[in-house]
């Protein structure tokens, strides 16, 4: 094969070491954008999920709207929100990123609440839990595995989507991609890709770890026969 190494070797380590501090700060921005998006997504989706669960009438419109957002391409969604929240603003980026988490988190919250065993709820009422106590101490804790599973999917999805917000001046690691492409230079793109995948992997493992620690009752299996 002819070697026309216009894009350079796949990783040029000298570039990585000289740009280390920029890479780190972009990585941190990437994490920040992701964490904010998932946190806001949770703050919206969990109460909405509780509401939709208690009021089945509200479910089709809520799932419908969040589902609609989910289908819209990310680049398009960013641009659709931009006139409202400003082009090239972090708000626009977050609005879009939050929008994508909603469907997953909402569905999982509803599914989690629906999976709470009827007998446990019956027992809670029979023992004199008030509706609020029942929600906080029985229903939500029992819905937590499903909600956390949703957080897992939402987080990994968001990490991938954050790169796209580079088009409106945010993007964390996505900026490396834009830089590499405009300079016809492999290394930044590859670094962005690898760090993004690693970040997704670490986040995934972290959430699984949180699940393990905070939900010991899910993991421990029946010992007695």
């Amino acid at each position: 094969m002819g070697v026309v190494a216009s894009a350079g070797p796949i990783v040029q380590w000298s570039w990585v070491s000289s740009e280390r501090s920029m890479i780190v700060s972009l990585l941190l921005q990437h994490i920040e954008l992701t964490v904010i998006a998932v946190a806001i997504g949770l703050a919206i989706a969990v109460p909405l999920g509780i509401f939709a669960w208690k009021m089945p009438v509200a479910r089709p419109p809520l799932i419908g709207v969040t589902g609609l957002i989910y289908v819209i391409p990310s680049v398009a969604l960013l641009s659709l929100f931009a006139p409202l929240t400003g082009f090239f603003s972090i708000t626009t980026a977050e609005v879009a990123l939050v929008g994508y988490t909603l469907l997953i988190l909402l569905r999982n919250t509803i599914a989690g609440l629906e999976s709470v065993p009827a007998d446990a709820q019956d027992a809670a009422q029979g023992m004199g839990y008030t509706p609020l106590q029942e929600l906080m101490k029985v229903q939500l804790p029992l819905a937590l595995p499903a909600i956390l599973a949703g957080v897992r999917v939402a987080t990994v999805t968001t990490i991938g989507l954050v790169t796209v917000t580079a088009f409106i001046g945010q993007g964390g690691l996505g900026q490396l991609i834009i830089q590499g492409f405009s300079e016809d230079f492999n290394t930044p793109i590859f670094v962005g890709l690898v760090l993004s995948v690693l970040l997704a992997g670490v986040a995934d493992a972290l959430i699984v770890g949180i699940q393990r620690i905070s939900l010991p009752w899910v993991r421990r299996r029946r010992l007695a026969s």
């Binding site: 065993p117 019956d122 027992a123 023992m127 004199g128 839990y129 029992l142 937590l144 421990r220 029946r222």
Partner: protein
């Protein structure tokens, strides 16, 4: 006897159902009594039970607990002082056994030390070692253990009233029988007022001081002691429901009484065969029990058989010819246990003991008489 729970002409109607779920239901449960609601599935038993802690509100009529109309009591308040045990135990899967049991005490605002002590007491009470079980999660328990925790949790707030909805219904027969006996022993000590729902007649007769037989639509067919319900079913519904083998069931619920027993002549082991023969002939029987001076049963002897044996001239003691007795039954067991023992040993009689003391024997005749005694005369054929 004070009435603890009282249903006054209670009906329950659901909007989407033409028939009443419960129809004009009245019933009194005495303080300290274990009252069983039994009937076919879907008959309204659970609906009736759940009116006591206002999980269901009656459409008409009143439910009184301790003389107070429950409709006038705050329902959360009411439920915290009413124990509630359900079929699947309803344990909270995300809480350890100790936290499950602590639920109501915490709702009642008890302090930590008191809750902790109470949890341990309750686990001990239901036969679960706190050191072993307090830290387990419900999915690490067997069905029987889970249900024990369910009972411990219901008792933790020390409620005067306990509602039990098919509590042992999901257990295998062996675990179920064991939990029934353990719960009865517990009830001996605690004297709670218990309402217990089951669709199983056998469970009803074993558990209940009184049984309310309920047909579709929550109609009360009969409310009486197990022996009366089995011996004198009030309606054809009751007779059908308790089944053709109700005679066998009656054996299970009729206790042995001293007056039921037959007393064969008793001889001491040192009596000669000739003397024993005289005693036996005087009683019109053909055998005698052999008992020691302090009343312990040693065996039995048939002096007539021995006397005709060529090797004996009647002067040796009965000790030599005494035959052993099989296991007897204790006075507080049921006629069924005695009958089972008789069949087991292929014997015509079975000795009855009060602890170690020999009291007499049960024979098929005395057994039959005891059954008739239990319902105050002839059973009513239905």
């Amino acid at each position: 006897m004070t009435v603890m729970i009282s249903f006054e002409a209670v009906s329950k109607h659901y909007e989407n159902d033409a028939k009443n779920a419960v129809e004009n239901f009245s019933l009194d449960v005495d303080e300290g009594e274990l009252s069983v609601l039994v009937g076919p599935s879907g008959g309204g038993k659970t609906t009736i039970l759940r009116m006591v802690n206002r999980m269901v509100e009656p459409s008409s009529g009143r439910v009184l607990v301790g003389g107070q109309d429950v409709a006038k009591v705050d329902r959360v308040e009411l439920r915290r002082r009413t124990g509630y045990v359900i079929q699947q135990a309803g344990l909270f899967p995300h809480l350890k056994v100790a936290d499950n049991v602590a639920s109501v005490p915490r709702l009642l605002g008890w302090d930590k030390a008191r809750v902790h002590a109470r949890v341990n007491d309750m686990l001990d009470l239901v036969g679960l070692n706190p050191a072993e079980f307090a830290g387990r999660y419900p999915n690490e328990l067997s069905g029987g253990q889970a249900q024990r925790v369910g009972v411990a949790r219901a008792l933790a707030g020390d409620p005067p009233v306990l509602l039990m909805d098919e509590p042992f219904g999901a257990l295998d027969p062996i675990a179920r029988a064991r939990l029934q006996q353990e719960f009865l022993a517990l009830q001996e000590r605690l004297h709670k007022t218990v309402m217990f729902v089951t669709h199983d007649v056998d469970e009803a007769v074993v558990m209940g001081n009184r049984i309310a037989v309920i047909s579709q639509g929550g109609r009360l067919q009969q409310y009486d002691t197990p022996a009366q319900v089995l011996g004198r079913p009030a309606t054809s519904f009751v007779a059908d429901f308790i089944g053709a083998d109700r005679g066998l069931r009656r054996l299970a619920v009729t206790p042995i009484e001293v007056g039921d027993l037959y007393a064969p002549p008793v001889v001491s082991p040192k009596t000669t065969v000739a003397q024993a023969l005289v005693a036996v002939e005087a009683s019109g029987d053909h055998w005698a029990a052999v008992a020691s001076e302090d009343g312990r049963l040693l065996g039995w002897v048939e002096p007539g058989q021995v006397a005709s044996a060529p090797s004996d001239n009647g002067s040796s003691t009965v000790e030599r010819y005494m035959r052993p007795v099989g296991a007897g039954v204790s006075l507080d067991s049921s006629l069924k246990a005695a009958f089972a023992e008789m069949l087991q040993q292929d014997a015509a009689w079975v000795p009855v003991f009060d602890h170690d003391r020999y009291l007499g024997v049960l024979t098929p005749d005395t057994l039959h008489a005891a059954l008739r005694r239990s319902v105050g005369g002839e059973p009513v054929p239905v």
